[in-house]
């Protein structure tokens, strides 16, 4: 039998429906892959018993002709999604042992559509990071290695485990989340597709909160079609999340059809930053040509406040995080370190439970929100944010979507930036603007660097035009025609 894990999500879905193989066979293939892939440290919790039980139910439904949209498709779930009765710690020590008694809305949507849960995926602690190195469980490792090098590379972050697992075929697809680039940057580093929907497209209920005005759920997949299929199941209004929008979910897979005639693609000049590697600049130009060949009109635009998005983000996100992480106090769940008094218990629990990056961000957030500084920092950042959004609104008067690089480099070595938080923050330079404006963004593998590592291009769309950027991304994927195979040095 051919290796079932080589099938894309769409191929697996269709193969199951045709009866080419059973859901049990497909799930077993992925359970074997997951066990053989432990060197990558992509999974922090494996759920084989649950997976087999779900696969059994899927086989029953397939036989009865009652297949749901994702029937029998094995997926991995980022550790920040609440999965009932299963490890949910956002890869933090402070949530030691936490097993929720409820299910997140996004994962509930996937299970209702017949998907199978393989396990929980590694991530930066509380989604704070761009390399998966702040995880309590240690870094996830990129299945890709640079040519002629044996060094372990980061799969990116915070959704490093999700990206590594998808690239190494340890799942058919994964759920991930994006607050400043945490879906798109790891996708770019691992040669996978990462989609961050418009803020409000998916429900945040049951997701461990980092920054509530920026967080958004989304898929990481091998192909653009797979991302469209996942989004169709993940998205939707939720009464339990008042920031989720009450708008119908289109069939995103059907929306992939059609060429790009009449589509105006903007190239924002401010994204051409100093020190941008030539090969990324060249790939950007090539990608624009591909879209032009398929009917698009390329237009240069300006987003004047682009350079201020990153510093504004590093006020807004930590501020919101300091509020969201105040609940971790050792009282109701997770780690508790005893103290002389209740305050002492809080202080010792949080000192022991939070890693250094989380502590840094909670403290920055506490400072910028404190009396005397709120106006100068948080309010100022929210005003800059309004200007960033205004830039995009004006640009969307001239174009339908924007094309930019996803990252300023290919995947870097583990340990290369851990001593320099600011340098680490610069990884998100092309992605944070999109979260600050609440827009949809997708990263698509577009080429390979000279050292053989994958490079991704980003498409940014109008609010709720996921269909538009998915269609353009599908064209780019076809034009790039990449054969993405990281090899299997890690398989045991």
């Amino acid at each position: 039998m051919t290796d079932l894990t080589k099938l894309t999500l769409a191929e697996a879905r269709d193969g199951l429906r045709r009866g080419d193989f059973s859901a049990r066979e497909l799930t077993e293939a992925y359970l074997d892959a997951m066990a053989a892939g432990r060197k990558l440290n992509a999974y922090v919790a494996e759920t084989p018993d649950i997976a087999l039980k779900m696969a059994e139910e899927s086989d029953r439904r397939l036989a009865a002709g009652e297949a749901r949209p994702l029937e029998g498709v094995p997926v991995g779930v980022k550790d920040l999604y609440a999965t009932k009765g299963v490890h949910t710690q956002a890869c933090s020590h402070i949530l030691d042992g936490f097993k929720p008694t409820y299910e997140s809305t996004v994962t509930a949507n996937l299970w209702e559509d017949g998907a199978v849960m393989l396990g929980k995926l590694n991530m930066d602690e509380f989604a704070m990071g761009s390399s998966n190195e702040t995880s309590w469980y240690g870094p996830a490792v990129n299945p890709w290695k640079a040519r002629d090098s044996d060094a372990d590379l980061t799969p990116g972050g915070s959704s490093g485990g999700s990206a590594a697992a998808v690239a190494a075929r340890l799942c058919a697809a994964a759920t991930a989340s994006d607050t400043g680039g945490s879906i798109r940057q790891p996708a770019a580093f691992t040669g996978t597709v990462g989609l961050k929907p418009t803020y409000g497209r998916c429900s945040r209920w049951g997701m461990v909160a980092f920054a509530s005005s920026l967080d958004q759920a989304g898929p990481i997949t091998r192909t653009v079609r797979d991302a469209a299929i996942m989004l169709t199941s993940m998205a939707g209004h939720d009464e339990k999340d008042t920031t989720s929008v009450n708008a119908p979910v289109p069939d995103y897979e059907a929306a992939l059809e059609g060429d790009l005639s009449g589509v105006r693609v903007g190239i924002p000049r401010e994204y051409r930053v100093d020190g941008m590697p030539d090969e990324i600049e060249a790939l950007w130009g090539r990608s624009a040509e591909w879209l032009k060949e398929r009917g698009a009109e390329i237009v240069e635009v300006s987003l004047p406040h682009t350079r201020y998005a990153l510093p504004a983000y590093y006020i807004v996100a930590p501020a919101e995080a300091s509020s969201n992480l105040a609940r971790y106090d050792g009282v109701r769940y997770g780690l508790r370190v005893e103290g002389d008094s209740i305050t002492d218990m809080y202080e010792r629990t949080r000192a022991a439970g939070f890693g250094p990056e989380v502590r840094r961000r909670v403290m920055i957030g506490t400072y910028v929100l404190s009396a005397g500084y709120y106006d100068a920092y948080y309010l100022k950042a929210q005003k800059v944010r309004a200007l960033i959004k205004r830039d995009f609104d004006e640009a969307f008067g001239k174009v339908d979507m924007l094309l930019t690089p996803a990252t300023p480099s290919a995947a870097f070595e583990l340990g290369a930036m851990t001593d320099d938080p600011l340098q680490m923050y610069l990884n998100d330079i092309f992605t944070v603007t999109v979260n600050m404006a609440g827009l949809p963004g997708i990263s698509v593998p577009a080429g390979l660097a000279a050292n053989g590592l994958p490079l991704g291009m980003q498409l940014i769309g109008r609010p709720f035009d996921e269909a538009g950027i998915l269609r353009a991304a599908r064209h780019m994927e076809e034009a790039a025609g990449l054969d993405l195979d990281p090899g299997d040095w890690w398989r045991s």
Partner: protein, 95 residues
Amino acid sequence: MSVDRDTVRRIAQLARIRVEEEELDPLAKELSAILDWIEQLDEVDTEGVPPMTSVEAMEMKKREDEVTDGYCVEDILANAPKREGNFFVVPKVVE
């Protein structure tokens, strides 16, 4: 904007995170570097710009004020580090 060790001590107290004496100076240095970098926002003219309150203009959704969930004491206490009966147990709060 530089923060000194006294400010770090104060922030740590507000954030309820215990910071040891020997960590104060290195932390002050780290936080100062980040805050210095953030200062560039002062270059932006935000005169007359209302701060963003939500990404898309939306009105806060409301619902009837009625109980639709709850009565799940065991679920609530399921992950408690220390419980007694239907209570979370913590060190004494009031002297």
